[in-house]
Amino acid sequence: MPTYAIIVVRMTYELLSDEAVFALVRDENDQEAFAVLYRRYNKRVYAYCVRALGNPEDARDVFQSVVLTIYDKRRSFSDGSFAAWLFTITRNMCLKTLRNRKQTSEFVEELHDTEESGSNSPDFLLRAELRKAINDLPAEFREALELRYFDDLTYEDIAEALGVSVSLAKVRVFRAKKILAKTLSPILDEL
């Protein structure tokens, strides 16, 4: 196969939706298709695991398990959103790990604070306060908010991942933002 044809075929994968690419994995056992999806989602899934589990070591283990599980369970995916299905599996595996640890997770602030230490810009102050306020949110609000703004999921995908209705997903995100607005309004006025 000429090299230029290979380039073209790879580019065609990039034009396909997640669901169409995963159909190739499921129906054709197509490794290249799986690699395309893997590259689309690896950072987001890993970041989710770190946020949920609180440490990179556990996140690495769960991340690898998630990727293998996605492949092994490929035949159970029929329709709907691939992203929602992926995050549902990721979330369930993180919860299982947390249950085994029998402790709740907290964000590992060191992971993201080092690069910004010493900064006194208004953006930095707002960001730092915002992170603190997000951590103080009720768990169900925080989770919905993070899926929306950090993992870039649609409300439909959030609803599916959390096993709630779309309207409830919207309500949770909105209430989370209202709490944040109330908490941060004095800071926003100063900035």
Binding site: M1, P2, Y4, A5, I7, V8, V9, M11, T12, Y13, L15, L16, A20, L24, D27, E28, N29, D30, Q31, E32, A33, F34, A35, Y38, N42, K43, Y46, A47, V50, R51, R60, F63, Q64, V67, L68, Y71, F107, L111, H112, E115, D123, L126, R127, L130, R131, L145, E146, Y149, F150, T154, Y155, E156, K170, F174, K177, K178, L180, A181, S185, L188
Partner: protein
Amino acid sequence: MTNDELLAGFLDRSLNEDQLLEFQARRESDPEFAQQVFTMLRIEEALPIAAPSISAPVALFQSVEATVANHIAQQAAHLGIAASVGGFGSMIKSTLSTVATSVWTYATAAGLAAIGAGVAYFSDPSTAQSFSTGSRVVAVSDAPRAQPVELRLVAPHEETPSRAQRVSSDRMSRNGVEWTTAADVPKFSNRTHRLDVQAPSADPALESLLGDLDRSRNASDLVRSAQIGLAIGRTYRERGQHTLAERYLGKSLVDARQSRVVEYEVEVLTELALNANATGRRTDAQGYAQKAQSVAERAGITYQPLEFTDSPD
């Protein structure tokens, strides 16, 4: 609607035009609500950058990818399936089998055409045949508009647009072919072709629209500005004045996004796709079309995606 309902709808871009007007009226009449909106918008802006910075463990990603590749190969061997590990023939087969049943057939065909020169793909007759759809008609369904719009490829020797269409002469000569909307395709004749080389005359309707746009901008009425900018951009596109079309559509897009009227945003992106397509910028056209679709999907708007098909010569 309550303040919370209006605010939530505004932030989710799910308000219809009437609700948006209600929202604006309430924001102007209720300072407390206006402050609430301001605060929520600041929070929304800050949220994406509040995500923890987690460095990507490249070695882990590579290691997991290799593990999975091995896992797939093992499973395939175990089940007696020919996994497409490096088997690009299988990749082509599977890709074709998928795209044949998907609207992405058209996107793929257009994408291939766009990159054709760069990778010299079509220089190989056998592979070109594999991907050819055997058609050079582009069909575009433009969901935000009431009527589906169909694009047709018009060969220059075949027909010439009339003055009524106000199609400029440079549009006719570009690349030897021209994209236009089938709904707009006039009854062509050689006689009208001569008239087309003349500059289009002033149009009172368009001038009126331009005046309205200035007034709405001065009044900071973003919704109206987005709407009028869209109408002006569409008019210029239909006349073949693509640079002007892009300028007004670009401004309209900014207004639509700022006013959060997602229907306009989708429609403007669709117009930008049609405009880019008309000037032969297929990659840009694909990008705009995909963006329109993703914005529509995210907002829960039913949207018939743009479909591109090659037509026969």
